[in-house]
Structures are given as structure tokens and as C-alpha cells.
Symmetry: C2
Subunit: 310 residues, 2 copies
């Protein structure tokens, strides 16, 4: 269980808007972040679904500065700061900590595959020592299907023992409720908060003692996800979960990042939102039509979309 001073609830890896020249568009980013914060969604900017690894460290630093300059509260920010190269991870993490962010979400170095726990321990330890700030709160990022570098329980145990308080939790994007449960059972009592990587298991994650979820579709369906988080002990929780699952399933028929951007583009009548950076591609026309049909069939409307308008 979490106390009120710790990040909890619903976070979203904020999708990154780009111009036609693929430059990050901070104006649209700020508007989208304000809209999410207004719905009580925390900002896990620079996540997988933010195309974070398609951004340079300098781009991420000035995007973060732009959000803070626009008045986004750092207490709602949990930027992704992991990188293949330790100097990059240290540089961006230090920047986030100095800005007062509530925490950072940290991928392991992900180029080399089959690396040892010793090597991964050293990598995280080097970042922690290199940042050298007691305010640092690291949320480990376990997303083996994409990173291809899983984080073992033995590694987590070593990190928690070496850096209690600094190692504060995990985003578990395994999609496996049993894994969420095992993490809570083994590490929850040591000040280690477990966030599911999808709202599709949010109710069960809360029942298991988890802290919430960090989920891509928070970008497009924030209010109902937050409502389940707030009301997970109510009688209608199962029905709420089923509703979330239908919406998520509709998006997941398509490449997720492009589909979410398409929905935002349509809802805000702002087609620049379709842009994704290579190697990703925007939805093709038939996919656009199919996505809208799927969402219409659910009666899905993004609320408060006027907040996104230019």
C-alpha cells in the first residue's frame, strides 16, 4: 500500500506531438499534458508510447523544461530517463531530479541481450551514484516484449537492498497479473510500489495491493480509467473494468501509438497530431476508418477534447 506522499493512481506515457519535419511540438505537448493533469492523470512523459527512444537527450531536456515553464507541476511528472548509454541516463535523470519530478521511470540499457544481473545491477547503480541526489526516486521499467531485457526478482532484490528509498517501485509491462502479484508479495513491504503497465488489469492490480497503472491509453481514455482507480472497491468495479477493456481492445487492433494519435487528431480536428517519428508510421487510410468505426461502435468520445484545440 502507498502513502499519500508517493506517486500513485493513473499515469500515462504522454504521446509526443511532432511537426511535419518531425520536430517535437511543445505547444501541443503542453496542451495535452494540461488536459491529462486536469483529469488527474500523472505524466510519464518519455515512455515507450511517447516515442522517447526516438528523441535525443537534449530534446527530452528542453521538452521537460517547456512543461515546467508552462506550469505543469513537477509532482505530477515521472519522466522516462533510461538509455542504452550510461552518460545519457545520468544526464537526463539528473535533469529530472533537479526539476523536482516525483520520480523517474527507468529502462535498463537495451541494446545488448542476454546480459547478466551483475551487469544490470552495475548499470542502475552507476546511474544512481552518478546522479548522486537523495531526492532521486527510481521506478524500474520491466517491458521485456520491447526492451528484450527483463528485470529479474533477484536484480530487484539487490537494488532494493543497496538503494532503499531510492528504488521506489516498478512499472510492470509484462501484462501478467501473476507477475504483478508476485512483485507486490515479495517487495511491497519494502517501500516498493507496483504499477501495472496496462489498465486492462487495473482492478486486479489494486486488489493485489498495487499502486495503480501507467498506461498508454490514459492518453485517450483518461477519465474512465481514473474513475476505476478511485472506485475499485465499489460494486460496479467489474463493469467499469469491462468498459475499459472494450476501449483498449479497440485501440489495440492497430499499432497503438499511431492509433492514439489518430484519435486525438480526429477529436481535436488537428491533423498534425498524426505525425510519428520514423521508424513508426501513421495509420493508413483504411486503418483510420476502421479505428473510427470501432470507437463509434463503443460510443466512445474523448471528453473535454476542446482543451486540446489550438
Amino acid at each position: 500500500m502507498t502513502d499519500s506522499s508517493r506517486p500513485a493512481g493513473v499515469f500515462s506515457p504522454v504521446v509526443t506531438p511532432f511537426g511535419a519535419d518531425y520536430a517535437p511540438d511543445t505547444d501541443r505537448l503542453i496542451r495535452h499534458c494540461r488536459w491529462l493533469v486536469a483529469q488527474d492523470v500523472g505524466l510519464a512523459v518519455f515512455g515507450t508510447n511517447s516515442e522517447a527512444n526516438s528523441l535525443s537527450v537534449d530534446e527530452k531536456k528542453w521538452m521537460l523544461d517547456a512543461l515546467l515553464d508552462a506550469g505543469i507541476p513537477p509532482s505530477r511528472l515521472m519522466p522516462g530517463t533510461g538509455a542504452c548509454a550510461l552518460p545519457d541516463a545520468i544526464d537526463l535523470t539528473r535533469h529530472a531530479v533537479a526539476a523536482g519530478c516525483a520520480g523517474v521511470l527507468m529502462l535498463p540499457p537495451f541494446y545488448y541481450k542476454g546480459v547478466s544481473d551483475d551487469g544490470l545491477f552495475r548499470a542502475f547503480a552507476q546511474v544512481i551514484e552518478g546522479v548522486g541526489d537523495a531526492q532521486l526516486r527510481i521506478y524500474l521499467y520491466h517491458i521485456p516484449a520491447v526492451s528484450q531485457v527483463p528485470l529479474s526478482h533477484a536484480l530487484i532484490d539487490r537494488l532494493l537492498t543497496a538503494y532503499p528509498g531510492v528504488v521506489a517501485g516498478i512499472k510492470d509491462s509484462s501484462g501478467d497479473l501473476d507477475h504483478v502479484q508476485a512483485l507486490v508479495d515479495r517487495f511491497g513491504a519494502r517501500g516498493f510500489d507496483v504499477f501495472a503497465g496496462t489498465e486492462a488489469i487495473l482492478l486486479e492490480t489494486m486488489r493485489a495491493g498495487g499502486a495503480g497503472c501507467i498506461t498508454a491509453t490514459g492518453n485517450v481514455n483518461p477519465a474512465p480509467i481514473v474513475a476505476l482507480y478511485r472506485h475499485w472497491q465499489d460494486a460496479d468495479a467489474e463493469a467499469r473494468q469491462a468498459g475499459l477493456n472494450r476501449t483498449r481492445a479497440a485501440f489495440q487492433q492497430f499499432p497503438l501509438i499511431a492509433a492514439m494519435k489518430e484519435a486525438i487528431a480526429v477529436q481535436s480536428a488537428d491533423h498534425a497530431w498524426r505525425n510519428v517519428r520514423p521508424p513508426l508510421t501513421e495509420l493508413a487510410q483504411p486503418q483510420r476508418v476502421a479505428l473510427m468505426q470501432a470507437l463509434d461502435g463503443l460510443g466512445f468520445v474523448m471528453p473535454d477534447a476542446h482543451l486540446l484545440a489550438a
Copy 2:
């Protein structure tokens, strides 16, 4: 077949020496590169076996500058410049082209898996257009076991059609001779040179019409590999290939980067060579002993190792 103005022969992804603080050590790097050049091995610095993705873009830029300042000829340099983030790939590639490097070896963006050929085409095209220099020569880097992002023949065809002359070849680290042969057969006549990613198939690659090999073990066994390249049509070529394979097999019993660095450390009596950046780890003591036993059993001695000494 290649003409004399094009890179050909044996290149090596140069191992990167680090200090105890994991900072790149340009003095040792320069000495090692001079030794390789003296043996007619080209310098594919910043490759997989250089721990390139564990280095920041700035580190790679100043390491390249240090090599050039030390008099390493740019005509012998083929730095790796691919990156997950397009601005990083453009920045480093532009730096390499301005320095007069013979070519660059380019990984695709490797974080997202299962991306489309359209997306990968855009990624390479954005780098080529972003660099905007007719002197650019790109060697594509196909290493699916590590990058998890293979480069299809359809993609290569599109790139060659769009950027003839600029797209100059490939390093094929599939380890599959049939794939090397297929690449030569399909694209060789269009000014596209195929390098094998290992000397274990060097003889067959030359027979297939390939341009040579870009191989990690060039760091530790350069002269015999170059000798096979020069004498592949001689009667003793099979025996030379068998000798190369025995040496490679000895190293491949261990994590390759750590094993090569261990061999250099021992041969040059300079233990700082053992350092690898996390998430990699140096060989443990029993592995060190086993590696030396395996090499001794082959009568293996790194030639001219005094050139590496401080």
C-alpha cells in the same frame, strides 16, 4: 566485385578501452587503432563489439576527433553511426562525413520491434536527407540477433533505388552464408558491397563475390584474417580458414567483448583493458583461466603486441 576506391578487405569493430571510472580512454584506443591499421585492418569503430551503444553521441564525436588528431587516416575509418533517435544518427553521421571517413555503418533504430519497411525506409531516408552530403557512403548493418530489427531485401531495394551511390553496402551479421550470397546476387551489380559479419565465412564470402568481412576478432587475430583475405584464391585457403575458425571458436566460448579485452590485457600486460561498461561485465577469474588455456592450446599469440604497450 569492388573497385580500388571502395572500402574492402578486413575491418574490425574496434574494442573501446575504458578507465576504472568507465570513461573512454583515447590513448589506449589510438594505440590499438594504429596497431590494427599497421596490419591492414580497417577501423569500424563504434560497432556492436565497440560497446558503441553504451557511448553517448558526444563521446563518440570526441573519440573520432582524437583518432583523426592522432593521424589515423579517415580513409581507414568506417564508424558506426546508427541510433534509435534520428537526431543522434544525423549528428554523428554528419560528423563522420565531415571528417572524411570512408563510410559509416548504420544500425536501424532498434527500440521498437516489428516495425514496417515503410518506417525503416523513412528512418534511413531521414538520416541521408538530414546529413545532406553527397560524400556520404552508408553501409547498412544487419544484425537481427542483437538489434532484433532485420533489414529485408525489399527495404534494401528501395534504399538503393532512392539513394544509389550513397547506399554503398551492408555488413551482414546474420552469420548465414546463404544470406550473404543472396545479397551479392541480388544487389552486387548495383554498387552494393557485402561484408560478412564474421571471418568464419570469409573464404566463402569472397567466393560468393563479397567485399570482405567486418569482424570482432579482427581486434585480436588481425594478421591471419588479413592473410586469408589476400590469399583466398590460393591452394592453402581452406587451411587458413580452418585456422581462423579454431581461434574464433576459442573466443566464442566466452562473452566475446570481455574475452577479447581479456586477451589484449594479458598480451599487453595492461589490465585496464579488462574494463567494460555496464551492462556488460568483464570475465570472471575462472573464465580468464579457461580462455588462456584455450588460446595456449592453439599456440595463439597476438603478434606485435608491444605496439599496444603504454
